[in-house]
Protein backbone atom coordinates (compact mmCIF):
# COMPACT_ATOMS: atom_id res chain seq x y z
CA UNK A 1 0.00 0.00 0.00
CA UNK A 2 1.16 3.54 -0.71
CA UNK A 3 1.64 5.88 2.20
CA UNK A 4 2.04 9.61 1.89
CA UNK A 5 4.38 11.16 4.39
CA UNK A 6 3.68 14.83 4.91
CA UNK A 7 6.54 16.79 6.37
CA UNK A 8 5.54 19.62 8.67
CA UNK A 9 8.32 21.98 9.53
CA UNK A 10 8.84 25.10 11.56
CA UNK A 11 9.47 27.91 9.09
CA UNK A 12 10.41 30.56 11.62
CA UNK A 13 13.72 28.97 12.44
CA UNK A 14 16.80 29.67 10.42
CA UNK A 15 19.26 26.91 9.70
CA UNK A 16 23.00 27.29 9.20
CA UNK A 17 24.38 26.09 5.87
CA UNK A 18 25.90 23.15 7.68
CA UNK A 19 22.55 22.16 9.25
CA UNK A 20 20.93 22.43 5.83
CA UNK A 21 23.54 20.11 4.38
CA UNK A 22 22.83 17.56 7.14
CA UNK A 23 19.09 17.69 6.36
CA UNK A 24 19.73 17.36 2.63
CA UNK A 25 21.98 14.35 3.02
CA UNK A 26 19.46 12.66 5.33
CA UNK A 27 16.82 13.11 2.59
CA UNK A 28 19.21 11.69 0.00
CA UNK A 29 19.87 8.67 2.21
CA UNK A 30 16.15 7.90 2.57
CA UNK A 31 15.54 8.38 -1.16
CA UNK A 32 18.52 6.22 -2.14
CA UNK A 33 17.56 3.42 0.23
CA UNK A 34 13.89 3.38 -0.77
CA UNK A 35 14.80 3.52 -4.47
CA UNK A 36 17.11 0.57 -4.00
CA UNK A 37 14.31 -1.41 -2.41
CA UNK A 38 11.93 -0.41 -5.16
CA UNK A 39 9.45 1.23 -2.80
CA UNK A 40 10.13 4.87 -3.68
CA UNK A 41 7.22 6.46 -5.52
CA UNK A 42 7.71 10.21 -5.16
CA UNK A 43 9.16 12.95 -2.98
CA UNK A 44 9.35 16.73 -3.33
CA UNK A 45 10.17 19.73 -1.20
CA UNK A 46 7.78 22.68 -1.28
CA UNK A 47 8.47 26.42 -1.35
CA UNK A 48 7.71 28.13 1.99
CA UNK A 49 4.10 28.78 2.97
CA UNK A 50 4.60 32.50 2.19
CA UNK A 51 4.23 31.41 -1.44
CA UNK A 52 0.91 29.64 -0.75
CA UNK A 53 -2.39 30.71 -2.22
CA UNK A 54 -5.69 29.21 -1.15
CA UNK A 55 -8.66 28.87 -3.48
CA UNK A 56 -12.15 28.16 -2.19
CA UNK A 57 -15.07 27.90 -4.57
CA UNK A 58 -18.24 29.43 -3.12
CA UNK A 59 -21.48 29.70 -5.10
CA UNK A 60 -19.55 28.91 -8.24
CA UNK A 61 -17.06 31.71 -7.63
CA UNK A 62 -13.43 31.10 -6.84
CA UNK A 63 -12.41 32.94 -3.71
CA UNK A 64 -8.66 33.45 -3.73
CA UNK A 65 -6.78 34.30 -0.53
CA UNK A 66 -3.15 34.86 0.17
CA UNK A 67 -1.48 32.32 2.45
CA UNK A 68 -1.86 28.69 3.50
CA UNK A 69 -5.13 26.95 4.46
CA UNK A 70 -4.22 27.03 8.14
CA UNK A 71 -1.93 29.51 9.86
CA UNK A 72 0.06 27.26 12.14
CA UNK A 73 3.60 27.24 13.42
CA UNK A 74 4.43 24.05 11.56
CA UNK A 75 3.71 24.22 7.85
CA UNK A 76 3.67 21.63 5.11
CA UNK A 77 7.20 21.62 3.69
CA UNK A 78 7.35 18.53 1.51
CA UNK A 79 6.19 14.97 1.04
CA UNK A 80 7.20 11.40 0.27
CA UNK A 81 5.12 8.64 -1.24
CA UNK A 82 6.41 5.17 -0.37
CA UNK A 83 5.04 1.71 -1.04
CA UNK A 84 5.01 -0.10 2.31
CA UNK A 85 3.78 -3.47 3.57
CA UNK A 86 2.00 -1.97 6.54
CA UNK A 87 1.92 0.96 8.94
CA UNK A 88 4.89 -0.36 10.93
CA UNK A 89 7.10 -0.21 7.85
CA UNK A 90 5.78 3.27 7.03
CA UNK A 91 6.48 4.39 10.60
CA UNK A 92 10.05 3.13 10.39
CA UNK A 93 10.68 5.13 7.18
CA UNK A 94 8.94 8.22 8.52
CA UNK A 95 11.24 8.21 11.52
CA UNK A 96 14.19 8.56 9.13
CA UNK A 97 12.80 11.55 7.27
CA UNK A 98 14.34 14.79 8.52
CA UNK A 99 11.85 17.49 9.44
CA UNK A 100 14.14 20.37 10.28
CA UNK A 101 14.01 21.86 6.79
CA UNK A 102 14.75 25.34 8.08
CA UNK A 103 16.05 24.33 11.48
CA UNK A 104 13.92 23.35 14.50
CA UNK A 105 12.37 19.91 14.53
CA UNK A 106 8.96 19.30 12.98
CA UNK A 107 6.95 16.16 12.40
CA UNK A 108 5.79 13.75 9.73
CA UNK A 109 2.13 12.86 9.24
CA UNK A 110 1.53 9.48 7.65
CA UNK A 111 -1.59 8.95 5.58
CA UNK A 112 -2.45 5.82 3.65
CA UNK A 113 -3.23 6.65 0.02
CA UNK A 114 -6.73 5.60 -0.93
CA UNK A 115 -6.51 3.32 -3.93
CA UNK A 116 -9.30 3.59 -6.46
CA UNK A 117 -9.34 -0.13 -6.95
CA UNK A 118 -10.02 -0.58 -3.26
CA UNK A 119 -13.43 0.06 -1.86
CA UNK A 120 -13.58 1.40 1.68
CA UNK A 121 -14.28 -1.40 4.14
CA UNK A 122 -17.94 -2.04 4.76
CA UNK A 123 -18.99 -1.10 8.23
CA UNK A 124 -21.80 -3.18 9.53
Amino acid sequence: MRYMMLIYSNEDESATPEEMRTVASAHEAVMDETRERGIFRAADPLQPSATATTVRVQDGKALVTDGPFAETKEQLAGYYILECQDLDEALAWAAKIPTACAGGAGCVEIRPVREFSQRPPVNA
Binding site: Q118, R119, P121
Partner: protein, 415 residues
Protein backbone atom coordinates in the same frame (compact mmCIF):
# COMPACT_ATOMS: atom_id res chain seq x y z
CA UNK B 1 -30.81 -28.34 29.32
CA UNK B 2 -31.85 -25.29 31.31
CA UNK B 3 -28.25 -24.23 31.88
CA UNK B 4 -27.12 -24.08 28.27
CA UNK B 5 -27.26 -20.27 28.27
CA UNK B 6 -24.94 -20.17 31.27
CA UNK B 7 -22.57 -22.47 29.40
CA UNK B 8 -22.65 -20.22 26.34
CA UNK B 9 -21.83 -17.25 28.56
CA UNK B 10 -19.03 -19.11 30.31
CA UNK B 11 -17.51 -20.13 26.97
CA UNK B 12 -17.78 -16.54 25.79
CA UNK B 13 -15.99 -15.27 28.91
CA UNK B 14 -13.14 -17.71 28.82
CA UNK B 15 -12.59 -18.34 25.13
CA UNK B 16 -13.84 -15.41 23.07
CA UNK B 17 -10.42 -13.72 23.12
CA UNK B 18 -8.68 -16.72 21.64
CA UNK B 19 -11.48 -17.39 19.16
CA UNK B 20 -11.70 -13.83 17.84
CA UNK B 21 -7.90 -13.57 17.55
CA UNK B 22 -7.88 -16.54 15.19
CA UNK B 23 -10.85 -15.22 13.22
CA UNK B 24 -9.20 -11.83 12.73
CA UNK B 25 -6.08 -13.54 11.39
CA UNK B 26 -7.97 -15.47 8.75
CA UNK B 27 -10.45 -12.75 7.79
CA UNK B 28 -8.06 -9.75 8.04
CA UNK B 29 -10.99 -7.87 9.49
CA UNK B 30 -12.12 -7.00 12.99
CA UNK B 31 -15.65 -6.35 11.75
CA UNK B 32 -16.09 -9.66 9.98
CA UNK B 33 -14.44 -11.62 12.77
CA UNK B 34 -16.71 -10.05 15.34
CA UNK B 35 -19.80 -10.60 13.22
CA UNK B 36 -18.87 -14.24 12.64
CA UNK B 37 -18.20 -14.85 16.31
CA UNK B 38 -21.47 -13.23 17.35
CA UNK B 39 -23.37 -15.28 14.80
CA UNK B 40 -21.69 -18.43 16.06
CA UNK B 41 -22.59 -17.70 19.67
CA UNK B 42 -26.14 -16.91 18.63
CA UNK B 43 -26.25 -20.24 16.79
CA UNK B 44 -24.91 -21.98 19.90
CA UNK B 45 -27.76 -20.65 22.05
CA UNK B 46 -30.24 -22.30 19.68
CA UNK B 47 -28.32 -25.43 18.80
CA UNK B 48 -27.03 -26.44 22.21
CA UNK B 49 -30.53 -26.39 23.64
CA UNK B 50 -31.72 -29.09 21.28
CA UNK B 51 -28.49 -30.92 20.46
CA UNK B 52 -26.89 -30.69 23.88
CA UNK B 53 -23.63 -29.00 24.79
CA UNK B 54 -20.76 -30.21 22.59
CA UNK B 55 -17.75 -31.87 24.14
CA UNK B 56 -15.47 -28.98 23.22
CA UNK B 57 -17.67 -25.87 23.12
CA UNK B 58 -14.83 -23.54 22.14
CA UNK B 59 -13.94 -25.66 19.12
CA UNK B 60 -17.62 -25.80 18.13
CA UNK B 61 -17.84 -21.99 18.19
CA UNK B 62 -14.60 -21.63 16.22
CA UNK B 63 -15.70 -24.08 13.54
CA UNK B 64 -19.13 -22.45 13.23
CA UNK B 65 -17.64 -18.96 13.05
CA UNK B 66 -15.20 -20.06 10.35
CA UNK B 67 -18.07 -21.44 8.28
CA UNK B 68 -19.80 -18.07 8.69
CA UNK B 69 -16.67 -16.32 7.42
CA UNK B 70 -16.64 -18.52 4.33
CA UNK B 71 -20.33 -17.73 3.80
CA UNK B 72 -19.63 -13.99 4.01
CA UNK B 73 -16.72 -14.33 1.60
CA UNK B 74 -18.88 -16.21 -0.93
CA UNK B 75 -21.58 -13.59 -0.63
CA UNK B 76 -18.99 -10.86 -1.17
CA UNK B 77 -17.55 -12.75 -4.14
CA UNK B 78 -20.94 -12.95 -5.81
CA UNK B 79 -21.56 -9.29 -5.23
CA UNK B 80 -18.15 -8.43 -6.65
CA UNK B 81 -18.69 -10.54 -9.74
CA UNK B 82 -21.73 -8.42 -10.40
CA UNK B 83 -19.71 -5.25 -10.22
CA UNK B 84 -17.17 -5.93 -12.92
CA UNK B 85 -16.40 -2.30 -13.57
CA UNK B 86 -14.47 -2.26 -10.34
CA UNK B 87 -11.12 -3.94 -10.04
CA UNK B 88 -10.20 -5.60 -6.81
CA UNK B 89 -6.56 -6.12 -6.19
CA UNK B 90 -6.76 -8.34 -3.19
CA UNK B 91 -7.33 -12.04 -3.43
CA UNK B 92 -10.60 -13.75 -2.82
CA UNK B 93 -11.27 -13.98 0.84
CA UNK B 94 -12.80 -17.41 0.47
CA UNK B 95 -9.59 -18.93 -0.88
CA UNK B 96 -7.46 -17.38 1.82
CA UNK B 97 -9.74 -18.73 4.49
CA UNK B 98 -9.69 -22.25 3.11
CA UNK B 99 -5.90 -22.28 2.97
CA UNK B 100 -5.40 -20.78 6.37
CA UNK B 101 -7.89 -23.00 8.13
CA UNK B 102 -5.46 -25.86 7.61
CA UNK B 103 -2.47 -24.01 9.00
CA UNK B 104 -1.21 -25.36 12.32
CA UNK B 105 -2.83 -23.84 15.37
CA UNK B 106 -0.95 -20.99 16.91
CA UNK B 107 -1.99 -18.56 19.54
CA UNK B 108 -3.15 -15.47 17.74
CA UNK B 109 -3.91 -13.63 20.92
CA UNK B 110 -0.38 -12.29 21.10
CA UNK B 111 -0.67 -10.64 17.66
CA UNK B 112 -4.05 -9.31 18.70
CA UNK B 113 -2.69 -7.74 21.90
CA UNK B 114 -0.02 -5.92 19.91
CA UNK B 115 -2.50 -4.71 17.32
CA UNK B 116 -4.98 -3.46 19.94
CA UNK B 117 -2.20 -1.67 21.85
CA UNK B 118 -0.54 -0.18 18.77
CA UNK B 119 0.75 3.34 19.48
CA UNK B 120 -0.94 4.61 16.31
CA UNK B 121 -4.28 4.09 18.06
CA UNK B 122 -5.46 6.58 20.65
CA UNK B 123 -4.89 5.33 24.20
CA UNK B 124 -8.57 5.32 25.20
CA UNK B 125 -9.35 3.30 22.09
CA UNK B 126 -6.46 0.91 22.83
CA UNK B 127 -8.01 0.19 26.21
CA UNK B 128 -11.52 -0.24 24.82
CA UNK B 129 -10.33 -2.41 21.95
CA UNK B 130 -8.31 -4.65 24.26
CA UNK B 131 -11.23 -5.12 26.64
CA UNK B 132 -13.66 -5.70 23.78
CA UNK B 133 -11.66 -8.18 21.74
CA UNK B 134 -9.39 -9.93 24.23
CA UNK B 135 -11.42 -9.42 27.37
CA UNK B 136 -14.75 -10.25 25.79
CA UNK B 137 -16.42 -7.32 27.53
CA UNK B 138 -19.41 -5.84 25.76
CA UNK B 139 -19.53 -2.22 24.61
CA UNK B 140 -22.11 -1.25 27.29
CA UNK B 141 -19.97 -2.91 29.98
CA UNK B 142 -16.86 -0.96 28.96
CA UNK B 143 -18.83 2.27 28.63
CA UNK B 144 -20.17 1.80 32.15
CA UNK B 145 -16.73 1.03 33.57
CA UNK B 146 -15.19 4.16 32.05
CA UNK B 147 -18.25 6.34 32.54
CA UNK B 148 -18.53 7.35 28.92
CA UNK B 149 -21.76 7.28 26.91
CA UNK B 150 -22.23 4.02 25.08
CA UNK B 151 -22.51 5.84 21.73
CA UNK B 152 -19.18 7.58 22.29
CA UNK B 153 -17.47 4.31 23.11
CA UNK B 154 -19.01 2.53 20.14
CA UNK B 155 -17.80 5.32 17.84
CA UNK B 156 -14.34 5.13 19.36
CA UNK B 157 -14.23 1.40 18.65
CA UNK B 158 -15.48 1.75 15.09
CA UNK B 159 -12.94 4.50 14.37
CA UNK B 160 -10.09 2.41 15.76
CA UNK B 161 -11.11 -0.69 13.84
CA UNK B 162 -11.43 1.34 10.66
CA UNK B 163 -7.97 2.77 11.17
CA UNK B 164 -6.49 -0.70 11.72
CA UNK B 165 -8.01 -1.69 8.40
CA UNK B 166 -7.38 1.40 6.32
CA UNK B 167 -3.94 2.40 7.59
CA UNK B 168 -3.02 -1.28 7.64
CA UNK B 169 -1.87 -1.58 11.22
CA UNK B 170 -0.19 -4.98 11.14
CA UNK B 171 -1.61 -8.00 12.91
CA UNK B 172 1.59 -9.52 14.19
CA UNK B 173 4.08 -9.65 17.00
CA UNK B 174 6.48 -6.74 16.34
CA UNK B 175 9.99 -7.50 15.12
CA UNK B 176 12.70 -7.91 17.76
CA UNK B 177 13.92 -4.35 17.14
CA UNK B 178 10.72 -2.69 18.29
CA UNK B 179 9.41 -5.47 20.55
CA UNK B 180 10.70 -4.12 23.89
CA UNK B 181 9.17 -0.69 23.28
CA UNK B 182 5.88 -2.12 22.06
CA UNK B 183 5.65 -4.56 24.95
CA UNK B 184 5.96 -1.64 27.34
CA UNK B 185 2.91 -0.11 25.64
CA UNK B 186 0.94 -3.35 26.07
CA UNK B 187 1.88 -3.58 29.73
CA UNK B 188 0.87 0.05 30.23
CA UNK B 189 -2.60 -0.58 28.76
CA UNK B 190 -3.17 -3.59 31.01
CA UNK B 191 -1.97 -1.67 34.05
CA UNK B 192 -4.24 1.26 33.19
CA UNK B 193 -7.20 -1.10 33.02
CA UNK B 194 -6.29 -2.48 36.42
CA UNK B 195 -5.82 0.94 37.95
CA UNK B 196 -9.09 2.19 36.57
CA UNK B 197 -10.73 -0.65 38.46
CA UNK B 198 -8.58 -0.29 41.55
CA UNK B 199 -8.51 3.44 42.07
CA UNK B 200 -12.31 3.55 42.41
CA UNK B 201 -12.29 7.15 41.25
CA UNK B 202 -16.03 6.97 40.78
CA UNK B 203 -18.84 4.76 39.65
CA UNK B 204 -20.17 1.32 40.36
CA UNK B 205 -17.81 -0.74 42.54
CA UNK B 206 -19.01 -4.02 41.10
CA UNK B 207 -18.09 -2.97 37.57
CA UNK B 208 -14.74 -1.82 38.90
CA UNK B 209 -13.93 -5.18 40.47
CA UNK B 210 -14.76 -6.70 37.14
CA UNK B 211 -12.14 -4.45 35.52
CA UNK B 212 -9.49 -5.57 38.01
CA UNK B 213 -10.37 -9.20 37.41
CA UNK B 214 -10.23 -8.65 33.66
CA UNK B 215 -6.85 -6.91 33.85
CA UNK B 216 -5.50 -9.81 35.90
CA UNK B 217 -6.84 -12.28 33.36
CA UNK B 218 -5.19 -10.36 30.51
CA UNK B 219 -1.90 -10.07 32.40
CA UNK B 220 -2.08 -13.81 32.98
CA UNK B 221 -2.55 -14.33 29.25
CA UNK B 222 0.49 -12.16 28.55
CA UNK B 223 2.56 -14.26 30.99
CA UNK B 224 1.30 -17.41 29.33
CA UNK B 225 2.26 -16.08 25.89
CA UNK B 226 5.59 -14.46 26.80
CA UNK B 227 6.72 -16.25 29.96
CA UNK B 228 10.36 -15.24 29.51
CA UNK B 229 9.74 -11.57 30.11
CA UNK B 230 10.26 -10.70 33.80
CA UNK B 231 8.22 -7.51 33.53
CA UNK B 232 5.20 -9.54 32.41
CA UNK B 233 5.55 -11.75 35.49
CA UNK B 234 5.97 -8.69 37.68
CA UNK B 235 2.95 -6.92 36.19
CA UNK B 236 0.75 -9.90 37.03
CA UNK B 237 2.32 -10.09 40.51
CA UNK B 238 1.72 -6.39 41.11
CA UNK B 239 -1.95 -6.70 40.18
CA UNK B 240 -2.45 -9.80 42.33
CA UNK B 241 -0.76 -8.24 45.36
CA UNK B 242 -2.87 -5.10 45.13
CA UNK B 243 -6.04 -7.01 44.42
CA UNK B 244 -5.43 -9.27 47.44
CA UNK B 245 -6.30 -6.28 49.64
CA UNK B 246 -9.61 -5.49 47.94
CA UNK B 247 -11.86 -6.61 50.83
CA UNK B 248 -9.77 -4.77 53.40
CA UNK B 249 -9.52 -1.47 51.53
CA UNK B 250 -12.90 -0.02 52.34
CA UNK B 251 -15.64 -0.24 54.92
CA UNK B 252 -19.07 -1.58 54.00
CA UNK B 253 -20.30 1.95 53.37
CA UNK B 254 -17.40 2.68 51.03
CA UNK B 255 -14.94 4.47 53.36
CA UNK B 256 -11.34 4.10 52.26
CA UNK B 257 -9.14 2.24 54.74
CA UNK B 258 -5.44 2.99 54.40
CA UNK B 259 -2.90 0.18 54.31
CA UNK B 260 -1.82 0.76 57.89
CA UNK B 261 -5.36 0.49 59.23
CA UNK B 262 -6.49 -2.51 57.20
CA UNK B 263 -7.59 -5.76 58.81
CA UNK B 264 -4.89 -7.92 57.28
CA UNK B 265 -6.82 -11.13 57.96
CA UNK B 266 -9.09 -10.03 55.11
CA UNK B 267 -6.23 -10.09 52.61
CA UNK B 268 -6.52 -12.89 50.10
CA UNK B 269 -3.62 -15.18 50.92
CA UNK B 270 -3.87 -17.25 47.73
CA UNK B 271 -3.20 -14.13 45.64
CA UNK B 272 -0.37 -13.04 47.96
CA UNK B 273 1.30 -16.43 47.72
CA UNK B 274 1.04 -16.43 43.92
CA UNK B 275 2.16 -12.80 43.70
CA UNK B 276 5.24 -13.33 45.84
CA UNK B 277 6.17 -16.47 43.90
CA UNK B 278 5.93 -14.47 40.66
CA UNK B 279 8.03 -11.61 42.04
CA UNK B 280 10.74 -14.06 43.05
CA UNK B 281 10.67 -15.67 39.61
CA UNK B 282 10.88 -12.27 37.93
CA UNK B 283 13.70 -10.93 40.09
CA UNK B 284 15.67 -14.12 39.49
CA UNK B 285 16.16 -12.99 35.89
CA UNK B 286 18.38 -10.09 36.99
CA UNK B 287 16.88 -7.63 34.59
CA UNK B 288 15.15 -5.27 36.97
CA UNK B 289 12.40 -3.08 35.53
CA UNK B 290 9.80 -0.77 37.06
CA UNK B 291 7.05 -3.40 37.44
CA UNK B 292 9.46 -5.69 39.27
CA UNK B 293 10.32 -2.92 41.71
CA UNK B 294 6.71 -1.97 42.29
CA UNK B 295 5.72 -5.61 42.72
CA UNK B 296 8.62 -6.12 45.13
CA UNK B 297 7.38 -3.17 47.18
CA UNK B 298 3.85 -4.59 47.22
CA UNK B 299 5.32 -7.95 48.27
CA UNK B 300 7.15 -6.39 51.22
CA UNK B 301 3.83 -4.93 52.42
CA UNK B 302 2.08 -8.26 51.85
CA UNK B 303 4.66 -10.13 53.90
CA UNK B 304 4.09 -7.97 56.99
CA UNK B 305 1.45 -9.54 59.20
CA UNK B 306 1.07 -6.29 61.13
CA UNK B 307 1.89 -2.68 60.20
CA UNK B 308 4.66 -2.72 62.79
CA UNK B 309 6.37 -5.59 61.01
CA UNK B 310 6.61 -3.65 57.73
CA UNK B 311 10.19 -3.54 56.49
CA UNK B 312 10.18 0.19 55.63
CA UNK B 313 13.93 0.21 55.13
CA UNK B 314 13.62 -2.24 52.28
CA UNK B 315 10.68 -0.31 50.83
CA UNK B 316 12.65 2.93 50.96
CA UNK B 317 15.56 1.22 49.21
CA UNK B 318 13.29 -0.18 46.48
CA UNK B 319 11.72 3.25 45.88
CA UNK B 320 15.24 4.65 45.70
CA UNK B 321 16.05 2.29 42.81
CA UNK B 322 12.68 2.97 41.20
CA UNK B 323 13.43 6.72 41.14
CA UNK B 324 16.56 5.98 39.14
CA UNK B 325 14.65 4.12 36.40
CA UNK B 326 11.29 5.85 36.51
CA UNK B 327 11.64 9.28 38.01
CA UNK B 328 8.29 10.85 38.79
CA UNK B 329 7.11 13.17 41.57
CA UNK B 330 4.72 10.45 42.78
CA UNK B 331 7.49 7.86 43.12
CA UNK B 332 9.59 10.45 44.96
CA UNK B 333 6.67 11.17 47.26
CA UNK B 334 6.34 7.48 48.13
CA UNK B 335 10.08 7.29 48.66
CA UNK B 336 9.92 10.20 51.08
CA UNK B 337 7.10 8.57 53.05
CA UNK B 338 9.09 5.30 53.27
CA UNK B 339 12.09 7.26 54.54
CA UNK B 340 9.85 8.95 57.11
CA UNK B 341 8.71 5.55 58.34
CA UNK B 342 12.13 3.89 58.34
CA UNK B 343 14.49 6.67 59.39
CA UNK B 344 12.77 9.66 60.90
CA UNK B 345 9.57 11.60 60.41
CA UNK B 346 11.54 14.84 60.28
CA UNK B 347 13.75 13.68 57.45
CA UNK B 348 10.77 12.29 55.52
CA UNK B 349 8.83 15.52 55.97
CA UNK B 350 11.81 17.54 54.77
CA UNK B 351 11.95 15.38 51.62
CA UNK B 352 8.21 15.74 51.08
CA UNK B 353 8.45 19.51 51.43
CA UNK B 354 11.40 19.69 49.03
CA UNK B 355 9.22 17.92 46.48
CA UNK B 356 6.37 20.34 47.11
CA UNK B 357 8.73 23.27 46.57
CA UNK B 358 9.27 22.13 42.96
CA UNK B 359 5.63 23.05 42.37
CA UNK B 360 4.65 20.03 40.32
CA UNK B 361 2.97 18.32 43.26
CA UNK B 362 1.24 21.34 44.67
CA UNK B 363 -1.99 20.63 42.81
CA UNK B 364 -1.92 16.93 43.67
CA UNK B 365 -4.19 15.97 46.56
CA UNK B 366 -2.09 13.00 47.66
CA UNK B 367 0.89 15.29 48.20
CA UNK B 368 -1.10 17.30 50.73
CA UNK B 369 -2.56 14.14 52.24
CA UNK B 370 0.91 12.60 52.69
CA UNK B 371 2.30 15.81 54.17
CA UNK B 372 -0.70 16.06 56.49
CA UNK B 373 -0.27 12.46 57.66
CA UNK B 374 3.38 13.05 58.57
CA UNK B 375 2.54 16.28 60.41
CA UNK B 376 -0.21 14.47 62.30
CA UNK B 377 2.21 11.73 63.36
CA UNK B 378 4.56 14.42 64.60
CA UNK B 379 1.75 16.02 66.62
CA UNK B 380 1.79 19.22 64.57
CA UNK B 381 -2.00 19.13 64.38
CA UNK B 382 -2.68 22.67 63.25
CA UNK B 383 -0.41 22.36 60.20
CA UNK B 384 -1.77 18.86 59.54
CA UNK B 385 -5.30 20.27 59.46
CA UNK B 386 -4.29 22.91 56.95
CA UNK B 387 -2.78 20.28 54.68
CA UNK B 388 -5.80 17.98 54.95
CA UNK B 389 -8.00 20.91 53.95
CA UNK B 390 -5.83 21.60 50.88
CA UNK B 391 -6.11 17.93 49.96
CA UNK B 392 -9.90 18.10 50.25
CA UNK B 393 -10.00 21.12 47.98
CA UNK B 394 -8.06 19.26 45.29
CA UNK B 395 -9.70 15.83 45.10
CA UNK B 396 -12.91 14.78 43.40
CA UNK B 397 -12.58 11.16 44.45
CA UNK B 398 -15.48 10.48 46.84
CA UNK B 399 -13.72 7.71 48.74
CA UNK B 400 -10.57 9.72 49.32
CA UNK B 401 -12.63 12.76 50.20
CA UNK B 402 -14.33 10.81 52.97
CA UNK B 403 -10.96 9.67 54.31
CA UNK B 404 -9.56 13.22 54.40
CA UNK B 405 -12.73 14.56 56.04
CA UNK B 406 -12.54 11.85 58.69
CA UNK B 407 -8.99 12.91 59.54
CA UNK B 408 -10.08 16.52 59.73
CA UNK B 409 -12.92 15.77 62.10
CA UNK B 410 -10.61 13.64 64.29
CA UNK B 411 -8.14 16.50 64.56
CA UNK B 412 -10.91 19.03 65.09
CA UNK B 413 -12.32 17.02 68.00
CA UNK B 414 -8.85 16.90 69.55
CA UNK B 415 -8.83 20.65 69.36
Amino acid sequence: MHDHRATVEAVFRSESGRIIAGLIRISHSFDLAEEAMQDAFAAAVVSWQTEGIPENPGAWITATARRKLIDYARREQTRRNNEDQLLYEYESRGNTINQQMDSPFEDDRLSLIFTCCHPAINMQAQIALTLRTLGGLTTPEIARAFLVPEVTLAQRLVRAQRKIQQARIPYQVPNPGSLPERLVAVQAVLYLIFNEGYSASSGDSLVRRELCAEAIRLARTLVELMPQNPENLALLALMLLHDSRRDARSTKDGQLILLEEQDRSLWHQDQIVEGIRLVERALGRRNVGPYQLQAAIAAVHAEARTVGETDWKQIAALYGILIASQASPIVSLNHAVAVAMSESLERGLAMVEDLGACGELDSYHLYHAARADLLRRMGRNREALESYHRGVALTTNAVELRYLRRRISELDSRG
